[in-house]
């Protein structure tokens, strides 16, 4: 499989300097982006476009801690959060997430509660990232896999909370506009 770190000339690892990632990505696109192939031969052009697409995929994958961790695990043959995963979520985690989603569901119409929940989840996600950095540094792939799975579910929960938040605002906005008519 494609090693996204190598493609961008970066050292594989969970701890990644965002500035360095960006710089590597920009440099790659400066050379490979289709807009910068003026006067190039057909072969050069097709190789460049392919490379531009790969760089976009690499950047998107590495920029996000969860997908970065998934990719690192996959490079070592550990698959999580997919149909054919090798490490599955624990019962305890599934219970924890179920409770969290219930809380979100119950707060669906309450903007303040939703915001508080989002803040809590973000803290939990930050903790996961700290754990991941340690686990990868120690070479503990199983622990890393567990934390990556948790990060995945936390991400889904935040998405859901944001969807409700958006609806709360849109409803508020609708009510407001009816007043003004």
């Amino acid at each position: 499989m494609q090693n996204h770190f190598e493609l961008l000339g970066l050292t594989p690892g969970f701890t990644l300097d965002v500035k360095a990632l960006e710089k590597a990505y920009f440099n790659t696109q400066m050379a490979a982006h289709p807009d910068r192939q003026i006067g190039k031969s057909e072969a050069e052009r097709i190789v460049a476009i392919e490379r531009s697409m790969s760089a976009n995929e690499a950047y998107e994958t590495l920029k996000n801690p969860m997908t970065r961790a998934e990719h690192l695990l996959a490079l070592s043959g550990v698959r999580v959060n997919s149909d054919n995963d090798t490490v599955k979520p624990s019962q305890a985690l599934l219970m924890e997430i179920m409770e969290l989603r219930e809380q979100i569901e119950e707060s669906r119409a309450d903007g303040k509660k939703l915001l508080a929940l989002v803040a809590d989840i973000r803290l939990a996600a930050d903790q996961c990232c700290d754990d991941l950095a340690e686990a990868f540094a120690a070479g503990d792939l199983h622990h890393a896999a567990e934390r990556t799975i948790k990060l995945h579910y936390l991400g889904k929960a935040v998405e859901e909370a944001h969807l409700y938040l958006y609806r709360v605002k849109a409803d508020h906005h609708d009510a407001h506009s009816h007043e003004s008519h």
Binding site: F26, Q29, M30, H33, P34, D35, R36, I38, G39, K40, S41, E42, A43, E44, R45, I46, V47, I49, E50, R51, S52, M53, N56, E57, Y59, E60, H162, Y166, K169, A170, H173, D174, H176, S177, S180, H181
Partner: protein, 613 residues
């Protein structure tokens, strides 16, 4: 259809554009602007009357087509054969008909595929009307520059879906313009603004035009213009402000059902009143022999909810970009509707940061497009990195969408996903491609359907069908599917199912050429011959360069077809030439793909490029 060698991006030629002038065109809902750049400095092109902002209004008067100020005057006088705001219908089809019919100030027919407009002596598609505007802009540029202009960067709302983008490209083709790039309007504005101010940091571009709204969050850094996210509404703009005033007038005049021409007159008066209200607190408009008083206060109350929608979009964009409001350095204001004082006030207050409207909000998009047109023909030290505005996916079991490419993914991009059969002995799979954020197919835009046939009969779940979604730098999608155990390929470049069929474009091209009184038959014959020559030349070159990729017997097969094609090209029958060219394309597909794969693999394993060509 598999294109021979699949190498250049669609619409690009592999050679530099030596002797051509390339312009930037902002094809707007209410106005269009054409601009040209020299050494990174853009300038809008003025018509002989000194006007750079040309109304996107077209009058169909018998065989005459009139575009611009004169057409707008006719529109204001109530001529029903004048079309305005056509951009709102780009890429719209029968599925949108109900929604459009009530809103659009013209008689609209559902039509086959895309919607059509009925005029007194003809029926016309939005693509043709847009092509007429583009032709006019092109002619304007040709006249002002004293040379032919055949290439352009054309801007589209960032939030335009695939169908509307494809329709815009079709319109350009019909106008005889080679599209160097479809560029998102806020990105174009950011380019012009960023270069003018040597700006660095994170910016928002708030683009409220005549008919569309876009908000983009961009990071500007050392010549890189990176779009982090974009959101918007393609059915919201200054036209809606006019409508709001018009509804108010109709209400106070106790009118419900009025004639189309009268409505257009009213809308024109409302637009003028709206513009006045940007300067004064109160104004009046005359219509149907009566005078109506309009106050800014009342107007602001009515547009409050529309501005609210734009701010919800802004919030979504920030969230998707992962950027806090406080990180935004400035908001660049684009589009004529940002002149409305309340829009400025609301945006400044919401973002809590300075607004920048130092560049003319009507011209800045065309200027950015011109700068990019120069960059794509002569080169530049800047780079635009843009994104997919709306998620792209496939319908799966039960009408649920499986998203393949998520919104705000940087382009160009390619994503492959595997699917399988769900019945024993199933030999075909239908793919339904959709675009949108909702989970159910019925809530999203249907782009196309295609079928992969010829799958060898297997037990359910045994087939491996790899579906590839590819979005190019224009934001246009192509999709292909391949059964990997047997190598069966079905490929299409997504043409929206309610868009133009290729034949229809060809017909329009022919029609337009007839109108131009050029000898179209001869021209098409010449084009067919040139195309045949080009294909044979490329193939000969490819065969010589990569003989190892030829399967036994292939070389002889290609040679035989080339003899047939040469015979056809020597004759006068264009259709036969085209047919034989297509035959050659079809034969060569497998070889072209093997060669392309080898080129890529070669490059990625570090071989020199010359070694693999």
């Amino acid at each position: 259809m598999i294109h021979l060698l699949q190498i250049a991006e669609p619409g690009q030629t592999p050679l530099p554009h030596h002797d051509s002038v390339a312009v930037g065109i902002d094809l707007g809902t209410t106005h269009s602007v054409v601009a040209i750049a020299t050494d990174g400095k853009a300038e809008a092109i003025h018509d002989p009357n000194g006007s750079a902002v040309i109304p996107s209004v077209v009058q169909y008067h018998g065989q005459h087509v009139i575009v611009g100020h004169e057409a707008r005057r006719a529109f204001a006088e109530g001529d029903a054969d004048v079309i305005s705001s056509i951009k709102r219908l780009m890429g719209r089809g029968a599925q949108d008909f109900q929604e459009i019919a009530g809103q659009f100030p013209h008689a609209v027919e559902a039509g086959e595929g895309m919607v059509r407009l009925s005029l007194s002596n003809r029926s016309i598609t939005p693509v043709e009307v847009s092509a007429d505007i583009l032709k006019h802009m092109r002619a304007l540029a040709c006249e002002a520059l004293g040379r032919d202009v055949a290439k352009a960067v054309i801007t589209v709302p960032a939030y335009f879906d695939d169908a509307a983008r494809a329709a815009t490209k079709d319109a350009a083709k019909l106008a005889g313009i080679e599209v160097l790039r479809l560029l998102n309007e806020p990105t174009a504005a950011a380019l012009a603004y960023g270069l003018e101010h040597e700006a660095e940091g994170i910016f928002a571009v708030y683009d409220l035009g005549g008919g569309t709204f876009d908000i983009s969050i961009l990071k500007l850094e050392k010549g890189i213009f990176q779009v982090l996210s974009t959101a918007g509404d393609t059915q919201l703009g200054g036209d809606d402000f006019d409508q709001i005033i018009a509804q108010q007038v109709l209400k106070s005049a106790h009118l419900t059902d009025i004639h189309l021409g009268e409505m257009n007159q009213l809308l024109t008066a409302c637009r003028k009143a709206k513009e006045m209200l940007s300067e004064v607190e109160q104004t009046s408009l005359e219509w149907g022999g009566e005078r109506f008083e309009i106050t800014r206060e009342n107007f602001e109350k009515k547009i409050n909810s529309l501005i609210g929608i734009t701010l919800l979009c802004a919030e979504q964009a920030l969230l998707d970009a992962g950027v806090e409001k406080s990180a935004i350095k400035a908001v660049v204001m684009v589009g004529g509707s940002t002149r409305v004082p309340m829009v400025k006030r609301a945006v400044a207050e919401w973002f809590g940061c300075p607004l920048n409207d130092s560049l003319d909000p009507d011209l800045v998009v065309a200027m950015g497009a011109a700068i990019q047109a120069e960059a794509l023909t002569k080169g530049s030290s800047n780079l635009l990195l843009d994104v997919v505005p709306l998620s792209l996916g496939l319908e799966t079991y039960g009408g649920i969408i499986e998203k393949i490419i998520h919104r705000n993914t940087p382009i160009p991009t390619m994503v492959q996903q595997e699917f399988t059969t769900y019945q024993d002995g199933q030999t075909a799979i239908v793919f339904h491609i959709v675009q949108g954020e909702r989970e159910k197919v019925s809530d999203c835009r249907s782009l196309a359907r295609f079928t992969l046939t010829g799958i060898p009969p297997m037990v359910a779940g045994a087939a491996r069908v790899a579906v590839t979604f590819q979005v190019d730098a224009d934001g246009l999608l192509s999709v292909s599917a391949k059964e990997t155990t047997s190598g069966i390929i079905a490929q299409i470049t997504v043409k929206p199912s309610y868009g133009l069929a290729f034949e229809e474009i060809e017909r329009m091209l022919r029609d337009s050429m007839e109108h131009a009184k050029s000898d179209i038959l001869e021209r098409l014959l010449v084009e067919a011959r040139v195309e045949a020559e080009r294909v044979m030349l490329e193939l000969t070159h490819a065969m010589a360069a990569s003989p190892e990729q030829l399967k036994p017997g292939e070389a002889e097969m290609f040679a035989a077809q080339m003899v047939t094609l040469k015979e056809a090209a020597a004759g006068m029958d264009r259709e036969r030439i085209d047919y034989e060219t297509h035959q050659l394309h079809a034969l060569v597909g497998g070889f072209a793909e093997r060669r392309m794969n080898a080129a890529i693999t070669g490059a990625l394993t570090g071989k020199r490029v010359e070694d693999v060509t």
